[in-house]
């Protein structure tokens, strides 16, 4: 579609370049600062480091127990994602595949959640979790985040409704029962939609701050975002840890993103229908 390009692109290019380079600058600057000792960091903003050193990282991994936070974050991400994917594909398949009364009503019921901010229900959820004895356990966060089924159910139901009916019929003729049809044929078929759901939900869950801060109180249960807040709250004292922690929370994820950026972006764009 080259003909659609603007003839004079100078101003447009400047806009795009400045937006991109600013982000790039922030990332490089952050990484660079994390390789300087704390004393140098606080005395001069720029200036070449005398020597690159990984002391801040050693401190982060050895003294600050970065792996604990990482493990908690991964546990919550994998747990919530698994529950969301399994439950939402099942619900969507149930609504999309079968004909029954209250079908529309049920779909609307699952969509209601999109309209309510999490904050509205958090007090009752807090009381519920407290009564279940799950306060201060990662399971509380997993349960609360996994219950946000609205968006995945919506995207997947649309997908299953559009699937040709023949597909269900032929599976049935081959003698597969409902459950086998679902997990052998339908679940794999939905994988492109599942993939975009995974992308959208992962970003939300991984960066989730509001829910963990309410439910996770002891240090050994906290996630990476909470760890960084702990360091930055006492910035002058923990500056080195805040630096290396930020890099560890950001750079590996971004490298992954750049490798898969095309697919990720398509996934996000298709999730935009919800808006």
């Amino acid at each position: 579609m080259n003909i659609l390009r603007p003839k004079r692109m100078i101003i447009s290019s400047i806009l795009l370049w400045s937006a991109s380079l600013f982000t790039l600058f922030v990332l490089v600057y952050m990484t660079y600062q994390s390789l300087r000792p704390k004393k140098e960091l606080l005395s001069s903003t720029f200036g070449w480091p005398k020597a690159l050193n990984f002391d801040n990282y050693r401190k982060l991994f050895v003294e600050a127990g970065f792996f604990t936070y990482l493990l908690n974050s991964v546990l919550i991400l994998v747990g919530s994602l698994a529950v969301v994917i399994i439950l939402s594909t099942m619900v969507a398949y149930g609504i999309g595949r079968f004909q029954f009364r209250f079908k529309r009503g049920l779909l609307i019921y699952f969509l209601i959640g999109l309209m309510f901010p999490l904050q509205l229900g958090i007090v009752p959820i807090f009381l519920l979790i407290r009564d279940l004895g799950l306060l201060n356990s990662q399971w509380s966060v997993v349960l609360v985040l996994a219950a946000g089924l609205s968006m995945p159910v919506f995207l997947l139901t649309t997908f299953f409704e559009k699937l040709p009916k023949d597909l269900y019929e032929s599976a049935k003729i081959d003698g597969a029962n409902e459950w086998t049809t679902f997990y052998r044929i339908m679940f794999p078929l939905a994988s492109p939609v599942t993939f975009s759901v995974c992308i959208i939900m992962s970003v939300q869950i991984w960066n989730q701050f509001f829910v963990p801060i309410i439910f996770l109180q002891s240090e050994s249960n906290k996630t990476i975002p909470l760890m960084i807040v702990k360091f930055t709250n006492n910035m002058m004292f923990n500056f080195d840890l805040a630096m290396s922690g930020s890099v560890m929370a950001t750079v590996p994820l971004l490298i992954l993103f750049f490798f898969f950026s095309g697919k990720v972006m398509d996934g996000v764009a298709s999730g935009g229908i919800k808006g």
Partner: protein, 311 residues
């Protein structure tokens, strides 16, 4: 009895698929909504006895001078974020999306780069903001000194009158890519023939933007405007990290969610009245008011979408 239920369910296989998700969703997403409304009608600290007080909490929220002052302030700040996003960020997202849509050289790189802050968690973004705008070690001040504007250097992060704008800048930087990708997706849906015909007719680059692209994506623009509004009214992370539970110096970065959090879970000492023994009651009341503010607009969206699909 059990066997009757089982046969009944056996004839309705969809129930097996729907039930597990239905139960989890009902307990943690739907029940809390109604429970919150019910708690907001009581006086309760969360542990002791619950007393039904009708709409007293709502009356107190609007009539208690301290509470209503905080409410107005938080609402104004949330509103400021919404307005700035709607006036500055949204048009910028559309223009960026259009540039990427026309496959300007390097568009893949630009797209990934502008989108990438979405993957940076909020505490890191706030920390980066501190690195850039800090009074002593901030890059922004060094830059000002470098270009000879040294007298304008300030501890930007610590000025209460700028607080909410700093928060807005961080929100804008981290979120601009998402809307951009949504708009880009909408533009890619426009049929090629329309675009090619307009090129043959000799319509210029920006002329096409005004008369073809914008009208074609107006539904997306409208939806994004609503999403921006909901986001601004429920944003929490940035204000909490920059201002703490109190909402910063003079509550300069306070927003609705933070106000709610402070009353329900946080430090209540500064607020007079009955709030201390009524944390849960007053907290849910604020949450309900917040929801009402969001719901009015969300309903408007649902109604217009409904009417459009009727046409």
């Amino acid at each position: 009895m059990t066997s009757v239920v089982l046969t009944w369910m056996k004839n309705r296989p969809f129930l097996w698929f729907i039930l597990p998700g239905f139960i989890l969703y009902s307990i943690f997403s739907i029940y809390p909504i109604f429970s919150a409304i019910q708690i907001s009608l009581t006086k309760w600290d969360g542990i002791g006895a619950k007393t039904f007080v009708g709409f007293d909490n709502y009356v107190e929220l609007f009539s208690n001078p301290e509470l209503s002052k905080q409410l107005t302030n938080a609402l104004l700040n949330s509103g400021t974020i919404f307005l700035l996003n709607a006036i500055v960020v949204l048009p910028l997202q559309i223009i960026l999306a259009y540039l990427l849509y026309s496959q300007i050289k390097g568009h893949r790189f630009f797209q990934a780069m502008i989108f990438s802050p979405q993957f940076i968690s909020t505490p890191v973004i706030v920390f980066m903001g501190a690195l850039i705008f800090d009074g002593n070690i901030g890059v922004f001040n060094k830059l000002l000194e470098l270009i000879g504007l040294g007298e304008y250097t300030r501890p930007w992060m610590g000025l209460p009158e700028l607080g909410i704008y700093i928060i807005w800048i961080l929100i804008a930087w981290s979120g601009i890519g998402v809307g951009m990708v949504f708009f880009l997706g909408a533009m890619k849906m426009i049929s090629n023939e329309v675009m090619e015909a307009s090129v043959l007719d000799g319509a210029s680059y920006w002329r096409r933007f005004w008369s073809i692209i914008l009208p074609q994506i107006k539904t997306t623009i409208f939806n994004m405007l609503i999403l921006t509004y909901i986001f601004a009214m429920t944003t929490f992370d940035f204000s909490f990290m920059l201002g703490g539970v109190s909402g910063g110096i003079n509550r300069s970065v306070d927003v609705m969610s933070l106000f709610f959090y402070r009353i329900a879970f946080g430090d209540n000492s500064a607020v007079g009245g009955t709030t201390n023994v009524n944390a849960m009651g007053m907290g849910t009341t604020i949450a309900c008011v917040m929801f009402a503010i969001v719901f009015v607009v969300a309903l408007f969206q649902v109604l217009t979408t409904y009417r459009r699909s009727e046409d």
